[in-house]
């Protein structure tokens, strides 16, 4: 078929466009010398060794991990119970979630950051330049993703009927939530968390404007490293992308498991 | 020459044969139904006739012209109604119906007149400006039908057009399609897996199983004289018996009989009912229940359960469960299906 071939060529071009920078970055990160040849002249893992041996890198990584995980756990604790209650007991409050999750679209990182800097640089709550302000802003940043993913998992298990059934069987309200509802949405919550991790690991704006050097995250470290040592920075970009790749595979695997699970039931 | 000729058509998907050397002729103005279980290849065959699918072997002719997949369909003038209706969601009912006429470069006043005419016939006049999502399932189905009919096709192909509407609408749509088909005299190939639909609507029924034609014939032929066990099973609750049970000369033969052709009588009524035109069997009445206007009895004869239908009003109260009863099987209603292995 002529049309099929045209479509495949188009797809191949688009994918080449999308993957060329990624593949080149990864190749460059293991290249000894690569300037005037099509492929690197030799291969080495020394940049990764240097990178992982650097304590600065390790600290930046750990800071990002702390801030991200703190934010994600906080978000789960804040969103899951109240969204559940909104769906089951207070349907009108669902609107509130919708508004809260659409607002970040109108205030991207830059706007959010300058609002927060001005608010928290003075007054009673001086948390500018501390990790706390970063966690607060990260909470807003991932709110839309968290809300969507968690809402979808509540929807797929038909949470209202499930609750009513559990209550009818004599389960307490808290017990219903902990023993019946939460295990059923755990998978959805985990995938929401994974999406958030990849968003937060790639986050630069808020960190740069809100905390900067006071809490150097991995992206800020990368930004600085790029000016000092191109090859090391490149290894970091490649490593970052490999982590993202791993995370996407994890997400696919989760989604796949859910689907298999569903067909069995 | 027949209007539609299907000659040795074969088709495989991923090495699995879906159609096995199908041969079928459809006469001008005939209403032929392809009937068979899900996955037997009905849609595939219809799509090959429409030129939407390439066959691996064989030829299809419509009105003497060969159908070739991928070729421009303008000259063919085939109308088709899809199971999903396949209405264009961005066009109104009127625009949907006029779509084919516009392509054929009919003049606007003529388009208007023809669309309005067919909409009136199908009683969807007044829905001109509605988009598909603003219409009920039954109305959408009529629009799809109108779209297929408005170009006055030589051949109408219908792929389970009635499967997505409720029972009431389906019943009225059956007679509507049949009426229009006869009035316009359009050669029609209709696909369904509903045997009642096939029996009610068709001039001829073609029964397919796993890509093979099992039997074809008039509805009453198919109903009363199934050619094999598959057809008998598919067309409805036939009783199957080994020849030995009836003491037939050929003990290895299998026979079948419809439940309404068996008579259920008291054991002691034997004397009066002695009749050479029927086989007699003795069994235990195990169950009795109402099926609308008939009553169905289940009788166990030497470990085999036979179904017996009587019109409602028959004196069921004369019988008690577990009673020994006698069955009379009309000899001329017995179908011999062939030798069992």
């Amino acid at each position: 078929m002529k049309k099929g071939i045209l479509a495949k060529v188009t797809l191949a071009l688009i994918f080449a466009y999308l993957f060329f920078p990624i593949v080149a970055t990864i190749l460059f990160s293991v290249a000894t010398r690569w300037s005037t040849t099509i492929l690197p002249e030799g291969y080495t893992l020394s940049y990764y060794q240097q990178l992982f041996a650097s304590s600065e890198f390790m600290h930046a990584l750990l800071r990002t991990v702390y801030a991200s995980f703190a934010t994600i756990i906080l978000s789960i604790l804040l969103i899951v119970p109240s969204l559940y209650l909104a769906i089951v007991y207070y349907p009108r409050l669902e609107k509130l979630f919708e508004i809260l999750s659409i607002l970040p679209f109108a205030m991207p990182g830059v706007i959010l950051a300058i609002g927060m800097i001005q608010m928290y640089s003075r007054g009673p709550l001086r948390i500018a330049n501390t990790p706390w302000i970063l966690i607060g802003s990260y909470f807003v940043l991932i709110l839309p993703f968290m809300y969507q993913a968690i809402k979808n998992s509540f929807r797929t298990i038909n949470v209202k009927t499930l609750t009513e059934a559990a209550l009818m069987l004599g389960c307490g309200k808290l017990e219903t939530f902990i023993k019946v509802i939460f295990p059923n949405v755990l998978r959805g919550v985990i995938s929401a968390a994974l999406i958030s991790v990849s968003v937060l690991f790639g986050e630069f704006v808020l960190a740069n404007l809100l905390v900067g050097d006071n809490y150097e995250t991995i992206q800020i470290y990368l930004y600085k490293l790029q000016k000092v040592d191109g090859h090391l920075a490149n290894a970091l970009v490649a490593a970052y992308f490999l982590v993202i790749l791993f995370m996407s595979l994890l997400l696919i695997w989760l989604a796949f498991r859910t689907r298999k699970h569903k067909t069995i039931v | 020459m027949s209007h539609v000729q299907i000659l040795d058509v074969e088709k495989s998907f991923q090495g699995r044969q879906v159609l096995k050397r199908i041969n079928l002729q459809v006469e001008k103005g005939e209403f032929v139904t392809l009937l068979g279980p899900s996955g037997c290849g009905k849609t595939t065959l219809l799509r090959i006739i429409a030129g939407l699918e390439r066959s691996d072997g064989g030829k299809v002719f419509v009105g003497g012209k060969e159908i070739i997949e991928g070729l421009k369909k303008k000259a063919q003038n085939i109308g088709m109604v899809f199971q999903s209706y396949a209405l264009f969601p961005n066009l109104t009912a009127y625009e949907n119906i006029a779509f084919g006429l516009k392509i054929n470069k009919i003049s606007p006043p003529q388009i208007r007149q023809q669309v309005e005419e067919i909409m009136a016939i199908l009683s969807i006049a007044g829905k001109e400006k509605n988009y598909p999502h603003q219409m009920s399932g039954g109305q959408q189905q009529r629009v799809a039908l109108a779209r297929a009919l408005v170009t006055k096709p030589d051949l109408l192909l219908l792929d389970e057009p009635l499967s997505a509407v409720d029972a009431k609408v389906r019943e009225s749509a059956r007679s509507l399609i049949r009426d229009i088909q006869q009035k316009m005299g359009i050669t029609t190939i209709f696909v369904t897996h509903d045997q009642l639909e096939a029996l009610v609507m068709s001039d001829r029924i073609v029964i397919l199983d796993s890509g093979e034609i099992m039997q074809q014939g008039k509805p009453e032929e198919i109903y009363n004289k199934p050619a094999n066990r598959f057809v008998a099973n598919f067309i409805g609750s036939y009783n199957f018996l080994p020849g030995s049970l009836l003491g037939l000369p050929n003990k290895n033969v299998e026979v079948c009989i419809r439940p309404e052709h068996i008579k259920l009588v008291k054991l002691d009524s034997l004397a009066q009912e002695e009749d050479a035109s029927a086989h007699q069997l003795q069994g235990t009445l195990t169950n009795l229940y109402i099926l609308g206007n008939t009553i169905r009895a289940e009788v166990s004869v030497q470990g085999k359960t036979l179904l017996v239908d009587r019109l409602n009003g028959f004196q069921a109260s004369n019988f008690v469960l577990q009673e020994e009863v006698r069955l009379l099987l009309k000899k001329d209603a017995l179908n011999t299906l062939g030798i069992t292995s």
Binding site: I14, P21, L78, L85, P108, I111, I117, F139, Q226 | F88
Partner: protein, 296 residues
Amino acid sequence: MQTNLSTNKVTHWGKELRRGGVLWIPFIPLLVFALAFEILPMGYIIYSSVHTSKGFGLEAYAQIINSKYYLISLRNSLLVSIAVGIIGLLIGTIGALALRSLSDAWREKLLTLVNMTSNFSGVPLAFAYIVLLGVNGLVTVLAKEKLGLDLYGAGFNLFSWTGIVLVYIYFTVPLAFMLMYPAVYAIKQDIIEAAQIMGASRAYFWRRVGLPILLPAMLGSFTLLFANALGAYATAYALTSSNNSLVSITIANLVTGDIFPDPTLASALAVVMACFLSLSIAINARLKKSSGGMGL
């Protein structure tokens, strides 16, 4: 009878549930966080934009309108976002359309790959492009050595507008792909075949049916791509840190910059930008409503 009884019981329980008692308590911490980090900062920007050293007034907005510099940065941002939105949308739509020719299994695999590349943005992306297309980038050097093509000599510069647009398109394409895929997928094979049977050519089908179905989704997707590009900061910052000609960078520099900090002006610019973003989000929501969820 049996089922009737149990459904009655369920609706009865449903009513009981409505009276939730103290179950609203978990909403308090959520609301506190949302107020503190989402709603109040937004409000504070609006407040700050009209709160000048001389009291309340719209001086900051007047300053924007009267200053060539700020208007140009605003115009640059809008132009870049529109251009990037349109080009990204076209590539994404064509890609999503081409995806239709593949089997289901392949389609899903490629979609996840696309989804993965959508994470590649910001500083890492800018850096990857510098490695490839910078003054001494791999592609730049290779093109010169092997093809005799001097990119920079021919006017290309990664650290200028061409570079910014190029890199922005890169992170827009995967998003456009993902946004357009559901709409493209809604054009099922059956309506194509229905048109084909009636004798329509492919071109006629796409003109009369295919494109009109896609158009609302394309417009809806465009608004999101536009908003995404307008709000972007990290990519441009990493590419051209000193170049202030995009509004997001101008805003940040006005607050954190050591040279002329002016929070009032920054807030006013942020409000203007938020208005453009809100407008595009509102258009998107409107389209989504009228097309029954196709706009996303």
